[in-house]
Symmetry: C2
Subunit: 135 residues, 2 copies
C-alpha cells in the first residue's frame, strides 16, 4: 500500500548548473551525483525535512528522459514518487484493479530500492513512480 | 527559508471521478472538497503520512488552470509546493537573488496560509508554490 510522498522529480538540461541555481537562489544543496544506467540519467537529490527533490539529467540522446527535455528545453516536472511498504504486494493489489505498471517490477533505483512506474492514464494523467521503503 | 515538501498538485477534469479512481485503484481517500475562488478551482487533498496530493478541477473556462486542462485533457502534474517557515522573509531573501514571484505575495490558500508562486524559469522549468506553515 501507498504510505507517503518520496520525491518530486525534475528533468534538467545540466545537473551542475541546476545545483548552482538552487543553492544561489534558495540555499538548497544537492547530495552526491549518481548515475542510473538503466534510466540513462545522471541524478542527485535535494533532501528536505520530509521528502526530496530529484534532479535528473539525460546521460545521452538515447536516454528515455532526453525526449522530455526536447519538449521542455528549460526542464520541468517529470514525475513524482510515492512510497510503498511492499512492492510485491502493492503491485499485485493495484494490478488487480486494472492499473498498468510500466516495466517488469524488478527495476531498482540508485539506492537499490525496488521501483515501478504507473501508466499516467491510470493516475490522473500524472507519471507516478512507486518506490519501496522500509525493507 | 524552504523547510519541506508540502504537496504535489494534479489538475483533473472531474474531481469526483478522480476521487473515485484514487480510492478504487490505490485506496487513497480525499478530504473535504473546497473552493478557491481566487484560483478558480474546486479542490481537495489526499493526506499521506508526510505530505499531500492536491487535486484541482477548474471551476469555469475563465479559471487559470482551465488552459492547462486544454493542453492536458486527461489531467497531469501542475505544480508542487514547498513549505517555507516565514513568507515575508523568504520572499525578500529570494527576490534579492533575482527570483521572480508571481502575484503580490498576499495570496492565501483555502486553509488561510500565505502562498506565492515562483516563475518556472527561476525553478528549473517547474512551477513551484511556496506555502507558509507553522505560523
Amino acid at each position: 500500500m501507498i504510505t507517503g510522498l518520496s520525491h518530486v522529480s525534475i528533468v534538467v538540461p545540466n545537473l551542475e548548473a541546476a545545483a548552482r541555481e538552487l543553492e544561489a537562489k534558495y540555499r538548497l544543496k544537492i547530495g552526491a551525483i549518481k548515475v542510473n544506467e538503466e534510466q540513462g540519467v545522471r541524478m542527485a537529490y535535494v533532501q528536505l525535512s520530509n521528502a526530496r527533490i530529484e534532479l535528473m539529467e539525460p546521460s545521452g540522446d538515447e536516454s528515455p528522459v532526453a525526449k522530455f527535455l526536447q519538449r521542455n528545453p528549460h526542464g520541468g516536472i517529470h514525475h513524482f514518487s510515492l512510497e510503498v511498504d511492499d512492492m510485491v504486494s502493492t503491485k499485485g493489489e493495484i494490478e488487480r484493479q486494472g492499473t498498468r505498471l510500466l516495466g517488469d517490477g524488478n527495476q531498482k533505483n540508485v539506492d537499490g530500492e525496488k521501483i515501478a512506474f504507473v501508466h499516467p492514464r491510470d493516475f490522473l494523467g500524472a507519471l507516478v513512480e512507486l518506490e519501496e521503503h522500509g525493507h
